[in-house]
Symmetry: D3
Subunit: 135 residues, 6 copies
Amino acid sequence: MKIEAMSERRERGAAMLERVDGASGVQVVGTLAKSFPDFATYILEYPFGDIYSRPGLGLREREIATVAALTAMGNAAPQLRVHIDAALHVGCTPQEIVETVIQMSVYAGFPAALNGLAAVQEIFTKRGISLPLAA
Amino acid sequence: MKIEAMSERRERGAAMLERVDGASGVQVVGTLAKSFPDFATYILEYPFGDIYSRPGLGLREREIATVAALTAMGNAAPQLRVHIDAALHVGCTPQEIVETVIQMSVYAGFPAALNGLAAVQEIFTKRGISLPLAA
Amino acid sequence: MKIEAMSERRERGAAMLERVDGASGVQVVGTLAKSFPDFATYILEYPFGDIYSRPGLGLREREIATVAALTAMGNAAPQLRVHIDAALHVGCTPQEIVETVIQMSVYAGFPAALNGLAAVQEIFTKRGISLPLAA
Amino acid sequence: MKIEAMSERRERGAAMLERVDGASGVQVVGTLAKSFPDFATYILEYPFGDIYSRPGLGLREREIATVAALTAMGNAAPQLRVHIDAALHVGCTPQEIVETVIQMSVYAGFPAALNGLAAVQEIFTKRGISLPLAA
Amino acid sequence: MKIEAMSERRERGAAMLERVDGASGVQVVGTLAKSFPDFATYILEYPFGDIYSRPGLGLREREIATVAALTAMGNAAPQLRVHIDAALHVGCTPQEIVETVIQMSVYAGFPAALNGLAAVQEIFTKRGISLPLAA
Amino acid sequence: MKIEAMSERRERGAAMLERVDGASGVQVVGTLAKSFPDFATYILEYPFGDIYSRPGLGLREREIATVAALTAMGNAAPQLRVHIDAALHVGCTPQEIVETVIQMSVYAGFPAALNGLAAVQEIFTKRGISLPLAA
């Protein structure tokens, strides 16, 4: 890792946040910053400036991993919705997202998958993606 | 879904298990079948015969999702090791696996990622993959 | 396990779903099927067609096990409500359900039990079961 | 431990509940007692009469521990809100509470911390504590 | 609840512990008492003296609930083994225990069920119960 | 937050790691760095350089929060042991640590507390702290 000014890292994180989540991600962090500015900065810096900016795993794969984890953990519904949106934004197909969530029935049980599909339905409806997907 | 005999589904699952996990996966399920034959059958049928056999998400992506979920949940070390092995078997690069596990520090905390990396190290050592990976 | 057509398993699952959850369970799966038809089918097939249809454990005990697990996990409120209803439907007494949930304070902590009791209260109110139960 | 009448323990618990949670805690348990009187009694007895009444750890530290645990577990939002309120009531500074929740990003991930901060914001708003806190 | 001396509750708990877990349970709590005497007392008092002593749910059902919850949570292997043993001790059939654990694949995923079955195998082997169970 | 060079943050993190965990913490991260150098750096930077270095919560309170969270989550035994050690290192009394772990029986159940006490016993034995603690 090269030595860099903190501000570089934060700017890289802000750019990555927008690339991953689009305008809605920027808005969420902006709202957070009004009440908890340091934590908003950490979110730019560590998840986006450090982790998502790393080479070696594509953004599509990163979002599949995150949707899988949040569906399986089952205790972070707001963040799951954000990352279903982000997955679409970085180019995952609707079908890839549905498959990822359904697969979690194997690893975390059917209720986790069902609640994940409820989040999928909510985001797909907002984005005008019709369900059921064509086979 | 077409109507099919159960035996088709089980055979498809057995073939998929071998494709995903190789000989070691077949052996694990074979050992399980000696004590809990019905549950061994269910594993062939549902996760492998039904879920992994679905189109719409590649096997590489399926294993990234599973490694992510099991790292994040943090309570299934034996299965995480199996799926790190499976991820390599279906063509994930060592770097993709390491990146997936490191990313879980964001969603499930640093201890989950650390314990995931311990599993990675164990499997990579067995497979002769040197760590650290070349940058 | 005998070899059977898939359709037999699905029909057995649909019948078991109705036996366990009554009309409301059938409706929930019907609604799910409109958006995610394959996953609705899996729910008929694996949990109901395979697992609940197995001999060796009564339906009352199966529902006690499920109410216990969902209360303890604490991240699947909609499914917990469905299974409190199902427990009543297969013949658990209101007291058995309350006892199961209270017992989870030992294994998963008082907040999990409290949130489980909130679900109990919601379902009991809908079904006209007065609380507190007579001692 | 000395031998004591159960009623002593219950009274000690009731007094401790009020000391820790104030009038709102007493009200919550009172409401619970209308539907589940035995469980309301257990809450007075074990958490408050036994555990919080023990010497060797201050009430401020006990509430920091509880806020940390409930934020990390992420599946008990109502109880987390009660204990953010209780932490303020026993003398934790707003900053100590925010720091405890932010620290959970390390151990349970950023979504757990974010959802914890949402609970902080809700309670702080009710209590008239302005956010962001002055640095 | 009647007013009673604490010592009554503790003795009732000790008797219930022996009834549920047999000599091995008494020994586990005895060992714990050497290092953490107060917590050993709490275990006699609350889980056994209060909860398991309540009417309204049979001991077989209580152990099915506990085996289900501990299998589903997946982070308490030593206690799961104790309760598989206890389930046998209070009269659950080996098949009822295996069914309870297998059912958790639906609610908590296949890895949780697999790890639960490993605990079952360990306890059954110690007790001379042959696997697979006769169908 | 002032703009600073990354190297400052890393050095501050390394110093904080030593202050919190002592020589053993430095060694753990050093071993990790041989296989996963980037993740070892992140541990210095984010948990120690950013979070533990923040004002507004004392190191004793930070370790109580961490011991509480890791005991409650129950899926990170190696990290719990490290932080029991760290809690002693930053000046928590043995009794404060035992109390924190026992309190988790309320929020995460008795098995979580029992497994936490097993970790306490292991670390206390290594450090020559006799159990039971004098009342």
